[in-house]
Symmetry: C2
Subunit: 313 residues, 2 copies
């Protein structure tokens, strides 16, 4: 390959690295461990030396590496500076400047949820669209918003913080962000498990979940798929709040398509159907037919988005 | 003046017309009646002939008119086509094409709420900002969203339809749009009067409003300013739902500033204070300090925005 590009997705436990050609086709990928000791000070050097090794292993030249895009789990300013990242132990770091110690390639960074959105637009469920809202349902709920092909970062880096849209009225439990009634509290894997446990404790509903020792969100989806009443109830609550949040978003930016990704989206059609039904009820009429689809890239969305970011210029 | 530009704001009863120099300074303005008979077929010709007359009256040449921007109370496609406008009796009209019959100047059209947002960014409360959300509180609730200096129209022309964000849970009354619990139902002048009447009927609260025959939103503001308990209660509900809606919006696009305009904003600081308080409670922490200000151009926002639209190129 004449020109080689890398898309990197830094997570709390592993770093995913994809090696791409100049058209964004994936050539190869691998993972390394996220070394969080020493305030995460080894993470960047680990990434760059792994890239060098990988280049040698595929018989290419390091000078062919033209761009490296990196997604990080925290707020990012100007495609260069991470503005604090608790999960990695990072404070404010100028990644572009750091990177210059290791590589001549162009380096850009972005927020991981934004990268996932960009990835799904580039090669996933939102391919062919320019105005995309991606919702990532995992341990938390993240979001990425693309208008006219460009990510919306927001004046304070909080563009696409969909997980913190206040959707539950009169909520009494506090969200990790300090507020009450955030979407993340009900639509994340954590929220799903919490709600299932609440139903077990406070109702007489029959459910296969009662026999599980440690309930996971996955248990709830699988039980719901075979008609377990309590699990269906949980999915309906999640879908209701998600559909409501998407209707809110449509009144603001009226996107062409919504893409639902992250582990919770593995619940599949049973969840998507509730989201779509609620969305249609609550969306403004002009936006009522907006597509709501499942993400297709899974855990690779981040590396596709990160490489898209450096392929763009 | 070498180059003359017009900003036009078509309303249901009057058309406001502003005559500007090439820097967007207002030279003169006037109003004509909106002739709605004949399915509104005279409105455009009335506007263009009034502009010609005005040009003669100020001793200028019609050839000096370089651009005419027009705001209409309906959805607009491509800065050219009105996609139906019930208030004017219009169906789908290609205004740019119509305009060619009357003028050689460049003609562009935009939605009136969007024009107000553009006007407030150009010369009003949001001057100096590029990422602006404007909320217009009148008979209905309209909105305009500007990101990176550009209006967000949305995939279906529903960008900035802030009035239809669903904010009231378990609402039983239907909004004009067919949904339940829209912001417009509680935060418009109509919604304010309705809520005041409900309190009069269903509570024993003392209030000067009880002596009014036809309560208006203005009566409620004036009574609230002198401490009338029931009126303060109404303002607090309006401010609560508005603050909640702004917090929702901030989680999506995280603007630099919110501008509150329209007749209801004349309630002034008493309303803004409740909006700000609720917003701070419900907004994501990164966006908590976002400015919320009153619009400053009043009824002229539309003509300033409309002229800005044609000055832009």
């Amino acid at each position: 390959m004449d020109k080689i590009y890398f898309g990197v997705d830094i997570g709390g436990t592993t770093v995913k690295v994809g090696c791409f050609d100049e058209n964004g086709n994936l050539h190869s990928k691998y993972e390394i461990v996220t070394r969080r000791d020493g305030d995460g000070s080894y993470i960047l050097s680990d990434i760059f030396s792994s890239i060098e090794e990988h280049i040698y292993s595929i018989d290419e030249n390091v000078e062919s590496v033209k761009g490296i895009g990196i997604g990080v789990p925290g707020p990012v300013l100007d495609e260069r500076i991470v503005n604090g990242c608790v999960n990695l132990g990072w404070g404010t770091i100028d990644v572009e400047k750091e990177a210059k110690k290791y590589t001549n390639a162009k380096v850009k960074i972005g927020n991981d949820a934004n990268m996932a959105a960009l990835g799904e637009m580039f090669k996933g469920g939102a391919q062919g669209y320019n105005n995309v809202v991606m919702v990532t349902l995992g341990t938390g709920v993240g979001g990425g918003i693309i208008l006219g092909g460009k990510l919306i970062n927001g004046a304070n880096g909080a563009g696409g913080e969909i997980g913190h849209i206040p959707v539950v009225h009169n909520a009494t439990e506090q969200c990790g962000c300090g507020k009450y009634g955030c979407l993340e509290q009900v639509a994340s894997a954590t929220g799903i498990v919490k709600y299932a446990k609440k139903l077990i404790e406070n109702t007489d509903m029959q459910s296969t979940l009662r026999s599980e020792i440690n309930i996971t969100a996955k248990d709830v989806f699988e039980a719901a798929k075979i008609g377990d009443e309590m699990s269906v109830d949980v999915i309906e609550q999640v879908g209701f709040y998600l559909g409501t949040a998407l209707a809110n978003i449509a009144c603001v930016i009226d996107p062409e398509i919504f893409v639902i990704g992250g582990g919770v989206s593995d619940a599949g059609e049973i969840l998507l159907d509730v989201i779509r039904k609620t969305y249609k009820e609550k969306a403004f009429k002009a936006s009522r037919e907006t597509k709501i689809v499942k993400a297709t890239l899974g855990n690779d969305a981040g590396i596709y988005g990160a490489v898209k970011m450096v392929l763009e210029e």
